[in-house]
Symmetry: C2
Subunit: 354 residues, 2 copies
């Protein structure tokens, strides 16, 4: 899922995402709640109508941003009190509030409000946080049931068919992950996510937790790994049972001049590309690769042209979405393991250009 | 002509310009000379090849930027010595050099190197400057002849069919304009421009100089008014004989949140648009107007999303190019005077929102 933090995937227009055949985008509840506000979006008929995007949208719960971005947050059993990064104003986000906000946004998939802990953290802290996240998940599910019953006044439900996903926490402690998975499954959701990874732990540890956690989650429901990752991570985590991902990496790195290619990453600002007339990726069919050379993209980047961000983002999203399409195709053809080996070998060819 | 200062129209991709059916774009010699350099572009086969744009390009001579942007410039009969705004490095631009640079860039229309004076300026200064510009124009024409003969070593001519336009100067003094026009015509160019206007003089004075100067220029050659202007200016100056324009206004103002519409200008950041579900311009068929509301565009602008710049630029360029198309159609149908009256009436409807 391309990340559309504030109701737009940075540097992209919706037409670009349709051309890339993005099936779903992600919106950030924290950002949209603060600006332009979920009530304003609700009055417009929901996020789809407001932003002019007709395909699915997933919204996070705001939890991650509150814990990582917001100033002076105070966490209690009730929820999280925090100050806006925009104007310092004081706000309270509770499980119920996070569900209500997402109801107004009308996303197709809403996430439960969970607590995120930093990495590394000691076992007791992770256990206490995971248990609180389970209690919050229960409150989220109950609130959604009330909204579905129409028994909550003052909340415009702009998408009655909205699904809700639970989130498994527990850090890198597999027994806590197992406990969280069991409790989350007991509540029951339309899909399940693995949260609290890609927060600084080594890749082998993330892969291990993903593998052991994904197998606890039902195979007939979507399994979503939040906030991951590199192209290699996508392949490796699909191999471990994951169906859905979101990550700012393709878009953010693009704006910083890093392009993902079939041979690895290139930093377009490197002087070696100043007279390189080749496209960013010879085997890529995106608009950027069809139309422009590395030399031109480097010039645009060095000149500070915002078109650089757009062209680089187009390419990186194309590469990510192509990677997922190739994964699905390889699975259908029962050649995924071959594909995986070849992909990882190819992706490391240019590793010196990081 | 949309302005593509550094080899890209800001916030646009070439595909956008093709969809808007822009017939020609402008590139700035000063900027491209400093970065990435005309020699590098020449080695790539010229500006078209380098940037991936196959339609016509006009390049200015660099004169305007040297006089208005560059630090510590020293003007002599030979040319202009200046320091780069990027790194303070010392450079010299002469009429011959400006022709050579544009030969490497390979634009379809090159402009002569002229001297620009500030407004207001006294008659003697304007007269001396105009006379120098005529001498420089002669040197430019001679240099181009040498390049066409292949008698200049070390200059890669990437577009042998390049046309060269002369520029009429003379400030707001009509007798000087007349003298400049006569001298420029005597040298002989493929087309003629009026320079040194839209530099702060009142509109009525500009219109008057345009009318009286355009009538001195041959009707069978393009007449190009440099650096102008508002949509109303386009209509008014076509009425006075102008065929071609360039201006950063549609693109720069778009990035600052100002949209040109059939009813006048709107500043999308105004709070009044926060819940306005209408498109920017109800009668516009551009992607932005087809897809998005004022409320969403305001949100993107307030949130600092670069997509705001792109969507606003798309609309403004669409409005400008549509205006020129409507002008051409009205002339063909012999209803230009009716069109002009209606256009000016309509464009002032929202003047309170400036």
């Amino acid at each position: 899922m391309p990340v559309g933090t504030q109701g737009a995937v940075k540097a992209m227009r919706h037409a670009d995402l349709l051309e890339l055949d993005a099936q779903i985008i992600l919106g950030n509840t924290y950002h949209l709640f603060l600006r332009p506000g979920d009530e304003l979006i609700g009055r417009r008929g929901g996020l789809h109508r407001f932003i002019g995007w007709t395909r699915p949208v997933l919204t996070d719960s705001g939890g991650y941003q509150v814990f990582s971005l917001a100033d002076r947050r105070v966490i209690s059993e009730d929820g999280a009190q925090f100050r806006s990064h925009l104007d310092g104003s004081l706000h309270m986000l509770t499980p119920e509030r996070a569900v209500d906000i997402q109801a107004r946004l009308g996303s197709d998939i809403a996430m439960v409000f969970d607590e995120c802990v930093a990495y590394p953290a000691d076992r007791d802290a992770v256990a206490a946080s995971m248990e609180r996240s389970v209690r919050w998940a229960r409150r989220c599910r109950e609130r959604l049931a009330e909204l579905r019953n129409g028994s909550v006044a003052g909340v415009a439900v702009t998408n009655p068919g909205q699904a809700q996903f639970g989130i498994v926490q527990g850090g890198v402690f597999q027994d806590l992950r197992d406990e969280s998975a069991a409790a989350t499954l007991a509540i029951g959701f339309e899909g399940y996510a693995i949260g609290g990874l890609s927060v600084g732990e080594p890749a082998y540890l993330m892969y291990s937790v993903v593998a052991d956690t994904a197998r606890r989650l039902p195979a007939d429901r979507p399994r979503y790994l939040m906030g991951t990752g590199t192209p290699e991570d996508l392949v490796e985590c699909v191999a471990r049972g994951i169906d859905m991902f979101d990550c700012v990496m393709p878009t953010r790195n693009a704006r910083n001049g890093q392009l993902f290619t079939s041979e690895g990453r290139i930093n377009i600002k490197n002087a070696r590309y100043a007279e390189d007339d080749r496209p960013p990726d010879a085997v890529c069919g995106c608009y950027t690769c069809r139309t422009h050379s590395r030399a031109y993209l480097r010039h645009l980047y060095m000149a500070g042209e915002m078109t650089a961000g757009a062209l680089n983002t187009l390419h990186n999203l194309s590469f990510y979405l192509d990677t997922m399409r190739r994964i699905r195709e390889a699975i259908r053809l029962r050649i995924f393991e071959n594909f995986r080996q070849e992909f990882l070998r190819s992706a490391s060819r240019l590793s010196s250009d990081q």
